[in-house]
Symmetry: C2
Subunit: 456 residues, 2 copies
């Protein structure tokens, strides 16, 4: 029954959940501990995500805070919030004591404000408490908000042998030693070395002789996106965080950046799909409605706008009815082209590969959309020919569509660029926003241009 | 002029590029080396990305292969391909000698098939050559294709002291030591320990006494998505790769997984935006057309489908013209709702949080879209009232739209689920595919239902 985690993937089965539920029901603490201790805390968190709140709280109160603190951090955010509500400030403080400062600060930051101070005051380890308080002060989405205070630091004047001895002390508190940071006597970051360098070196060498004096670092106020970019570009697994005076404050590890990257990607994807806020398939109907309705209402207004425009052309319904049959097609093409253009530009901006002048970009986009538009226009003329449509009408429709495509591509390209120049996240210009504005603009242009060609 | 990389972000300036170009033009090798050696290889790659091909090749041939091999790996893929075309098989082999096995195999895999064997035969280090050949044999997107052969391995029977001595040898070849893998005499992976554990332990302790005997590993044939999921879930920075017999074959590090995650996210985003293939803003017009036109043609066919449907209702143009004004709105709503639903489900599937039965999901989606649809329908009725539209018509439009929204949500939800169950990437069901099919379906339903209500 018990799944072996080593060498085989953990699988969350109904049997396992039932087994845990049964243990909780029977208050069979010994068996419960035996079962759960087989698993990694991330797996236990997955189990708890499936249990009733009451049962989850029971498990959290039962197991050692050394493990439960890690389990809590891995829980689904909504569930963690509910579980923490059922713990006393003292109990939360005990969990916090076990966590690294970065996770500890995150856990406290999620609490309601009135509880935060209470929990902090119950943390017994004074240094830990001060460090957490420091971290809580940094603004969201800055390097400071993600860093941990735990790191291994040595002074440039130490010897390798002395260093190894002292590191034995420091390293016990640090889960993973990536780099050892070298500071001068003013605590300024001046270099780094790896454990490997230390092991390979001779015992009486001085740190300053074996340390690398180029060391990447980020400022404590840098945006997380910048941190992620630097770490990905230089393949770093940890990066030290300094203040404006180059004083070493903390470090950020790559596993936290992986989470940031995943969240960013999901957010962009959702924004492009017309979802506001961070929703998941298993959220409540209310939360999902809140994420979905706003963009739909925007889309509705766009659609009502086109109703208005078309109503204005009601008088030509008898003479050229076919124009009206093509409006969904025109709207769709304008929307699709706009989304394509904006997606490429938004990604290009994110990856810093939108180069060259606005003029050359304009030319490129016009050229590109002319090619696409021309091929599509030919297909429309062919279609018109097959269904025996009036040739002038077909031509008018094809040419207008082509123009709509060019304009839609330009809107899709330049709206994100302009937003970005003004310091607004260009990602909001993808998806429904571009689709909707291009829908209206496209239909308007379509009627105006067709009118010029057919003559109405 | 020279930018300091330490403590300040590298910035690619026009002046810098000009300076490098000038050095190349004057064949001032000494100055060129001086300038470029100031920078990290990832920065030099950014500079080369901007140079003419000829100049880039000049720089690559000038600098030491120890550096240029890394620069090459950081170059834009298209540019790397062109540069490698200008190097002899011998020169490429020299670059490959400097790279870790995983990067070496990647570089060779990108070469045209006829050159691959030639380059491999020119690699002087026999072990390196054999390891690269082994890596090239693994299928794309498997753990084997991403892993490196470089790792630090110790036998369970060694002592800590002996281990440290031997590691000094192995570690020189391994850029970063994350974990030390413990194997038994059959080379089977049986545990791991960190350098930290080793440093903290006493010299005469046996490895088997201090090593952790639970060790996460992946199978060499596991999909990269699985590897990424395991590493992110358990916050691993490296994971050993084993074969079916648990024999240790290699290891995958988190920096490579970061790249995989970024690529996956960009691919999904592009797929949702209706782009095929991996394109960038700075690709050629031809490449961009190839990525954009296919989905646009699909959209066009969808649009032509709705032309057909509407043509079938031409006879009611005189009696209820307003229906035709609403078709772009209906198509937009059907498309938007479909994209929202599919995006949530596709992400849910990727994150393994789509739980519960199909029946409960059906109920939830119907409930959700009824709520959204109801609010939107009210707005449509209000709009009709304001513009003085016939009440029956407004009602018919509102009710039909609501039904279209429900159906569109169901299509958006269940198409990805069904694709996933059949082993097809559900991400293809987002974006243009869902939009287009929902457009046609929506307009068809709209006319049928309005007809039933109004009576035509």
């Amino acid at each position: 029954m018990i799944l072996e985690r080593e060498n085989s993937q953990f699988e969350l089965t109904d049997e396992l959940i039932e087994q845990v539920e049964l243990c909780v029901e029977n208050k069979d603490d010994k068996e419960l501990k035996r079962v759960l201790n087989e698993f990694h805390f991330a797996d236990v968190a997955e189990i708890l995500d499936e249990l009733d709140l009451e049962d989850s709280v029971y498990v959290i109160k039962l197991l050692d805070s050394e493990i439960t603190s890690e389990i809590l951090m891995e829980l689904d955010e909504d569930i963690r919030e509910k579980v923490l509500k059922n713990l006393s400030a003292k109990e939360i403080a005990e969990e916090v004591e076990e966590l690294d400062t970065d996770d500890a600060a995150d856990m406290i930051a999620e609490l309601p404000e009135n509880r935060q101070a209470e929990v902090i005051s119950k943390i017994e380890d004074e240094e830990h408490r001060d460090e957490i308080t420091e971290l809580l002060a940094y603004e969201e989405d800055t390097a400071g908000s993600l860093m941990a205070k735990e790191l291994v630091k040595v002074y440039e004047t130490w010897t390798v042998g002395g260093c190894l001895r002292r590191i034995r002390g420091q390293a016990k508190e640090v889960t993973r030693v990536h780099s050892i940071y070298v500071v001068n006597k003013e605590e300024k970051l001046i270099g780094r070395l790896s454990l490997k360098d230390l092991i390979v070196a001779k015992s009486d060498q001085k740190i300053s002789d074996i340390s690398k004096d180029t060391v990447d670092s980020v400022n404590v106020n840098d945006d997380l996106e910048v941190v992620a970019k630097v770490m990905a570009k230089y393949d770093l697994e940890a990066i030290p965080v300094v203040d404006d005076n180059q004083t070493l404050l903390g470090r950020i590890t790559i596993d936290d950046i992986v989470d940031v990257l995943k969240e960013e990607a999901e957010k962009d994807y959702q924004m492009a799909a017309g979802l506001t806020g961070d929703v998941e398939a298993d959220d409540s109907i209310l939360e999902l409605t809140r994420a979905r309705l706003p963009w739909l209402v925007l889309g509705l207004f766009g659609g009502l706008g086109s109703v208005f425009i078309m109503k204005g052309y009601e008088n030509i319904m008898e003479t050229v009815p076919s124009l009206f049959f093509y409006t969904p097609l025109i709207a769709a093409m304008a929307g699709n082209v706009g989304v394509q253009s904006s997606a490429i530009i938004v990604q290009g901006i994110a990856n810093d590969n939108v180069k060259g002048s606005m003029g050359s970009r304009l030319l490129k986009e016009v050229g590109l959309s002319l090619i696409n538009g021309f091929v599509l226009a030919l297909l429309v003329i062919l279609f018109g020919f097959i269904i025996g449509q009036d040739t002038t009408e077909s031509l008018a429709i094809a040419v207008s569509m082509m123009s709509v495509i060019v304009v839609a591509a330009l809107v899709g390209t330049f709206v994100p660029i302009i937003l970005d120049k003004r310091g607004i996240d260009p990602a909001i210009a993808t998806g429904p926003f571009i689709t909707t504005s291009n829908d209206i603009l496209g239909i308007y242009l379509f009627f105006v241009l067709s009118g010029l060609i057919i003559g109405f």
